[in-house]
Amino acid sequence: EPEVTQTPSHQVTQMGQEVILRCVPISNHLYFYWYRQILGQKVEFLVSFYNNEISEKSEIFDDQFSVERPDGSNFTLKIRSTKLEDSAMYFCASSGQYFEQYFGPGTRLTVT
């Protein structure tokens, strides 16, 4: 069964550093998403991506964040200058035309 994959599974970085989180969505899906989940809290929408551009973004997704689909398979989330409060689990998801979303296993980002 096709699945979304994410790398790395855990990323530790120092405050102010740039990080890139990587995702490979399900191959025939059209929509791609990033979510974050702070430990013990709800899943929060960051951004959706369709047809090589951002479709929607939340208030959390400020100028420090960017997304890219550099080739036909990868989907990346970049955080330019990490802050302590960026520490969270980041989930990538993809969906087909009916918007049911399939989540990857997540990247745990720890900012020290």
């Binding site: 709800k42 929408f45 959706s48 929607e56 918007f99 989540f103 990857g104």
Partner: protein
């Protein structure tokens, strides 16, 4: 902005008892989705409801979408220990571009045998 509220936050049941979680949105939804997240895991898609008043069943799970498309419920009959996890509802806001899923805070279910 749109808010999705879910109650209860926690529920503990004995194995074999029923369980229900309720979801309410501040705005009319184009559809509602339900996800399950096991401890340490990622959200797993369970079902999507689109039509007003829709009811769908998956074995012991029954999902309902309200007539006004602002509320939903998930009912589990005769819980099993494998049902343990956090159940999230998530709504697609009717007024937006239709791609942002807004999650409720989830109901964490624990089951003792």
């Amino acid at each position: 902005g749109q808010q999705v509220m879910q109650i209860p936050q926690y529920q503990h049941v004995q194995e074999g008892e029923d369980f229900t979680t309720y979801c309410n949105s501040s705005t009319t939804l184009s559809n509602i989705q339900w996800y399950k997240q096991r401890p340490g895991g990622h959200p797993v898609f369970l079902i999507q409801l689109v039509k007003s008043g829709e009811v769908k069943k998956q074995k012991r799970l029954t999902f309902q979408f309200g007539e006004a498309k602002k509320n939903s419920s998930l009912h589990i009959t005769a819980t099993q220990t494998t049902d343990v996890g956090t159940y999230f509802c998530a709504g697609l806001d009717k007024g937006q571009a239709g791609t942002a899923l807004i999650f409720g805070k989830g109901t964490t279910l624990s089951v003792s045998s």
